[in-house]
Structures are given as C-alpha cells and as structure tokens.
Amino acid sequence: MTAQILGNAALDRFDALVIGSGASGGAIAAMLSRHGQKVLVLEAGPNYFPGIDQDSPTQPLPLFGNDELKLLHRFQIQPDPIAEPRTFRHQVSDGDRLAVGDYANFAKTVGGGATHADLKTPRFMPDDFRLGTILGAAATAGGATFVDWPVSYDQLEPFYLYTERLMGVQGAVGVDPQAGPRSGPYPMPPGAPMYVAQRVAAGIASFGYTMFPCPTALNSVPWDGRPACNDCGFCQSHPCAINAKGTPGVTTLRKALLTGNCQLWPETRVVRLLADGAGTTITGVEAILADGTRRTFTADRYVLAANPVEDARLLFLSATAGQALGNSSGLVGKNLMLHHGVNVVGIFEDQLHGHRGRGSTHAFTDFRVPSDRSRPVGGIVVVTTVPYLIQQALTYRAQFGQLGVKGALFKKMLRQARPRDRLLSLSMYGEDAPQPTNTVDLDPAVRDIDGIPVARLTYKPHDYEISAEKYYVPTMIDILGASGARFGAQAPNGDPPSSGHIMGTLRFGANPATSVCRPDGRFHDIGNLYGTGASLFPTSSGFNPTLTITTVATYVAASMVFPGSPERGLG
C-alpha cells in the first residue's frame, strides 16, 4: 500500500503522539483532537480505508470484502508470522521458548484489531471493577493477583454511554440480568436475530438462563452516515465491506482526522522510545517508515496504544541500563490475560445456515455472577457458528483425518455435514485470572524482519478458569442436547487461548509499587507517557473487551485534557 500521510499533513508540532490506531489509539485521538489538541498517530500497518480523512457525506468503501483467503490465510491485516513472529512457552522452566509462530497476535492495520473483530460490545458488569474485594482471600489464591480497578463502573458509565454512541452500538435495555445500570438507551435496536440463536433459545431457557441479543457495534439502522448491516455473513474475523461495523477506521479515527487536528502515518513502526537520562521523560520515538528508513518523531506527551503485547515489547526495547522503561514496580509485561475461551459444539441434522448473518447475535451471562461464591466465576456465553468454507474444510480435515476420512469420503462429508448448516457452538469467554507469572518480554534470539527482538509470551492458565471450565462445560453440552443437537462435545482449547482478547501488562492503580500506570493512565515513573485500553486492565472480566477498551481510552484521553475532571471531556 502507498503509505500516504493522512489527515492534516501541515501539522508539524504535536501535543500528543499516539502509537497505534486501533480501539485505544482511535479513541485517544478522537477525544484529544476534539478538544483542540494536535495529535500525531503512528500506525505500523497499512491503510485500507481510502478517503478516511476526506469529509464526505458517506465514507468511501474500504479495500476489504467477502474474501476469506486474504483475511484469514494470507495475512492482509494480521502480522505474518514469518515476518513478525512471536514465541511462546508455558513457564520459565521450559527454556527460551516452546514454539515460534502466531500467538495472541493482533491485526496491524489502520483501525487495528477492532477492524476485523465482530465487535460484540457488552459492557463489563459493576462487580468486574471490584473483584479484589468480592473474591476476598480467593483473590490471591494460587498466585493470582485479583485487585479492584482504580475506577468504578459508576465513574465509567457516562464514558460507556458516550462510546456506545461514538461506535454505534445496537442493543436492548433490560434484557441482560447481569448488566449494570445505564444512564441512557442504546443508540439503535438489535439487528436481525440469526436462526441459530432461535434454535437454542428454548434449550437455554429450559435451564433457567436468559438469552438476549448481544450488544454489538454494528448498524441495525443507518447511523452516522453509515448503512445498516445486510447480514452478508462475513463479520467474524473480517472487516466490513460497506462500513456498517463501527470500527475505528469509520468512527473514532475518522472523526479525529476530520477535525483538522490529527495527522496519521500508516506503515510507520515505532521501535524505540527515547528517554532522558533519568528515564522519567520521553523525548521522542524512533520509527521505521514505509520505505525502511528511520526517523524520530516528537511531541509533548506520548500514548502507548498498540496492544498489551506490543506496548510491553516497546518498553523492553527501550530499556536503559537493562531495565524496561517505566518499570520501577517490576510489573511491566506481567499479568498478561487472554480470556479462557471454551467452546462446545453441537451437531444438528437440520439446516442452520450459519453463513448468513453476523456469525453470532445472542448470548447469556448466567455463568458470570461473581457475588455468588458457591460456584466458579465464568464468562459470557455467545451462540455462534462456523461460517467460512476454507476454515470448515481445514477443521474437518484435521479432526476427521485422524479417523481415516479422506478422498471421496472427505468430499461427501463436506457436502453432507456442511459446518455452516450442521454446527452450532456455545463459546464462553472465561475470565482469565491475572498472574504475575504470565508475562510478555523479549525473546533472547528470535527477531522480526527488521532484526528487532520479538515478543515472547509466557502463559499458563490458572485453576480459577480451569475450574470454571470444568464446572460449566457439562451444562453447555446439555443445553445443546436440549436444543435438538444429535451430538455435543467440547472442542479442544487453544494453547495459549486463542480468544483474541488480550489484556494486562501495564495494569493501572493508585499504588506505584503494585501498578505500572496511575488511575488516569499516566505512568507512575514517566511524566509524559500514558498507557491505555486493554493494557491497563487489572482484571479481565468475562466479557468481550472492545467496548471497555475504547471506553477506558476515552477516559484516559479526557483525563489528559481535563485532569481530575475527565467527565468534562464528554461535553
């Protein structure tokens, strides 16, 4: 792609420099530029939103499409594991690494990982912000580090409402029994309910659970100059071809660019933060440009908004005297959380046509009641499908190849047992306990295409989420049976979890000994550096995180503009 400078190219002095243009970076840029701050956004990936910075009644269409090959198999927006690998191990005793490849990676593109998320956007529940208190002694059992957040649900609620309008969230009030109080309605009503959801509705109800249309940042009606979703079937892991999905490229980031206060550089990889001798002030960032040359950019303040893995990696790459920047607490890169994704799959004999619609439209939250200490704390369960053909074929080939299925029988299986028609999945995003032993640091030997050390993940699940899995999976399978499935079974878990929900590494809190960033997002150690979004999360909740990522970023940015009274930023 041509790495054209976007937005106001005339700007040459900046109040803030934002590293990353996704859910966090877009929200930071939108709030700062809205209040007159001059913002420079550096994005490592290419731009596929032509006209993103052009003021027109309808935004031009993106360079995406209903194209499984380039999105899921040819790394159009996902980092190519050959060029930008990550390494993985369960624990330090495994040695330098167990494997090299694509682990907990996020899209690198203008708009970030939210670009191809299906953008289910439930809020976290009020109890999620005070799990340290609720769990009591269990908060530190087995090495876990559950703590209360430094901000409450009530403090964030107006920011949630603001963000829901910014992104364009569809949903219904009063249908989720675990949801917190709201100060206003959703911007738009729920969209088309997929048949698969109706197929399991009675089964879920028979267990006393409450299925509801899951809030989603996807237009059910024309909204904010963007069309309504037409249920094309390519929502999971695919960007929207008609801009109906409220991703940063069509919401926050575009709004920032249209203020005239924002400038965006795609294909610009920040590889080092430059600090003063004491390591308490950032003086610039070094980046590799689209043509491979290096350049230094400066601003008054700096925001890490790549993602929890890359944020931590950058701090380690910027180490002085062998110590990561901003790491007096020793917690940079620690408490990595990935959500413990648990999937049960039902085989149905009728036609479910899961390839039409948004992939998943409904959910239930009855497994997530932290105040009920008589059972494990689970997460939201979404009703979902397997819509894509290559993915289906590869899955069948892998699973049934072991049973000797090949050739003509394999072909017959694909025809008769069409996964989009026969498979229905219940997926629980189990809360992942924070553990200081789950970390991001630098691999000692493996490098990316520019010769820069790659991120190494050290990750092992905690009994907290494993006990929740064991407790709830039998019920999830029985729900499928009660819904008419002929078979039900748990699919193998990812190792590490492949939920795509990545949190922690720069947890925020009031105490500089137990947190990396302050409650307003600023680093305890560095006066002009901020963390934001999922990196700040002290705990992971059991809900899809994108809305809360965007909301926390909006809160941090508002705090930058209005210290001590961030709510003024919403006015």
Binding site: A3, G45, P46, Y48, P62, L63, G65, D67, E68, K70, F75, Q76, D80, E84, P85, G191, A192, Y195, Q198, V221, A228, C229, D231, C232, G233, I242, E267, D291, I347, D350, Q351, H353, H355, R356, G357, L389, I390, A393, Q399, Q402, L403, K406, L409, F410, K411, M413, L414, R415, Q416, A417, R418, A445, I449, I477, D478, G481, F487, G488, A489, Q490
Partner: protein, 284 residues
C-alpha cells in the same frame, strides 16, 4: 518413507495395463499468466489435488476446479505488479446493488477482486521469505541462525514433487491420471501438508485467485452463494422499518428449501466416533 495404503509397483503394473494416451498429455491450464511449475509438476500436483478432493458423481475434483492454476498463481505472485496475493474489493459483481425498497436492482458493481493490492514493506518481506525461502532472499531470513533457514514454498513443492516421482513405484508417464492420484501418498510430509492446504484454499476461495473455477467449489457444497456483497441477506422494509429476510436465503427464519443432501448413516457414524474421542454426548 513407508506409506500405508500406497500401491506397490507390482499392483500398479497390474492395474494400469497399457498406457492410456491421455497420460502423456500435460494437465490443461486455463491461465495465460507466468508459470513456475513444469508440465510434469503440474500433472503431479493435479493428481494430488484430486486425491484430496476427487471427481465423482457429485461434481468435479479439485484439479478441474483450478487447483493447479491457483497454486502456480501463488508461486508466481511476485511476477505481477502488484503481487497477486491480496485481491482488492470490496465487491465482485456477482450480486447486485440493492434497490431502495431492498429488492435487487439491475445495477451490478465491477469485479474489483480482479485488481490486486500493493503490499507493504513488511508484507512483501514476509511473502518473499515464504515463497522463495532464505536461500532465495538476499541476506536470508532474520532467524536463519536461531531457528534454521526458511524453506520457500517454491522449493518445497518442487522438491516434494520430485521426491514423490522418485518414490512412486513406476514411471509416471506410464500411468493415467486416475492412477496417478496414488502419488499423493509418496509426497514428503511437509510438502503434502502444504499441498493439502493449498488445494482446500483453491476450492473455496474467490475464483479471482485462480481456483474455484466458475464458483464450482461453492456449488458442490450446496446453496453456498459465495461473496454476497453488496446485496447481502437482509434488508430493512421501507414501509415498516423491520429487518426482513431476502426470499430464498433466510437469516432469521428456517431454511426455505429442502435439505439438498442430508447426512447419511456413514457421516453420522463419523460424528459418533468423533464425539466419543472428544468425550462428548450422543443425545439420540
């Protein structure tokens, strides 16, 4: 390498008898673009493609659906500018724009998937390594020392096909295409894994990538409509404001057409076995 189920030379000689004339013909290719694969390599890969997804009464096999063209297009991606790796979009023109009332208009978009997107510097570097390997990349790969060199897909397939030909129990020009399918079992593991992956990608990806000829891969899997934009599957009724299903392709309601091919006892038996392996439940 010993492979279970692969025919021995003696069995093959007995099976094939006299050499059919077609065996000497190169595998047909609809692509006029640059080629990396030789005619022999194309024929072997076509046989392998049909081993993965064979022709039968339900429709053509992977070879006739363009698997080899798909693979050769990938292997020669950098001989085009931009490289033929990421189709542009967003639309193919296979479905129309919706009219104001939600019905199909008579306006169709251009096929924008025929255009390909330029790659970023990092994307280009990754694909260069994937296709040409450390050996074919100036300066090699970044982790050659730590992890060993990257074997490029071009070399992997060429060497894999050569190894399969060498191991096959009789000269490949002595067997017809149908029997040549057995050569798939002689392909070294790593190359066979890649061939399988590429064949499945070729069957079900957009036809603009060179496989799935005329959407034939989609059709075999019954009423799969392929890319559906900009028409999609639902629309807002302008009279009521309600979201409705498009006729014949429901999102909300049950399928409106009879099941084209229900699961038979053999397929259900496979799920029964898989469920048992996974510790699942059979409910009826």
């Amino acid at each position: 390498m010993t492979l279970v189920g692969a025919p021995t030379r003696r069995v093959f000689l007995k099976l094939v008898g006299a050499l059919p004339a077609t065996a000497l013909l190169s595998y047909g290719c609809g692509s006029d673009g640059p080629r990396y694969l030789t005619d022999t390599e194309r024929r072997v890969l076509a046989a392998c493609a049909n081993a993965v997804f064979p022709p039968d009464d339900s429709g053509p096999g992977a070879a006739d659906l363009g698997a080899v063209d798909f693979i050769d297009t990938l292997l020669t991606a950098f001989e085009h500018d931009p490289p033929r790796l990421h189709a542009a979009g967003p639309f193919s023109g296979r479905t129309p724009y919706p009219a104001d009332d939600g019905s199909a208009s008579k306006r169709f978009p251009q096929d924008q998937f025929l255009e390909f997107l330029p790659l970023s510097r990092v994307q280009r570097a990754g694909w260069q390594l994937r296709l040409y390997g450390s050996r074919g990349t100036p300066g090699g790969g970044p982790n050659d020392e730590a992890l060993g060199p990257v074997i490029g897909l071009r070399d992997l397939l060429r060497d894999g096909v050569a190894a399969a030909i060498a191991a096959f129990p009789m000269p490949i020009d002595k067997v017809d295409d149908s029997f040549l399918q057995g050569i798939y079992d002689y392909v070294p593991d790593e190359a066979r894994t890649q061939i399988q992956l590429l064949v499945l990608q070729s069957l079900f990806s957009l036809p603009e990538y060179g496989g799935n000829r005329d959407g034939g891969g989609w059709r075999i899997l019954h009423h799969y409509e392929g890319d559906s934009m900009p028409f999609g599957y639902s629309y807002i009724d302008p009279a009521t404001g309600r979201i409705l299903d498009r006729p014949g392709a429901p999102v909300i309601g049950p399928e409106t057409t009879p099941d084209p091919e229900p699961m038979d006892d053999q397929i259900i038996g496979l799920f029964d076995a898989a469920s048992a392996v996974l510790g699942g439940k059979r409910f009826y």
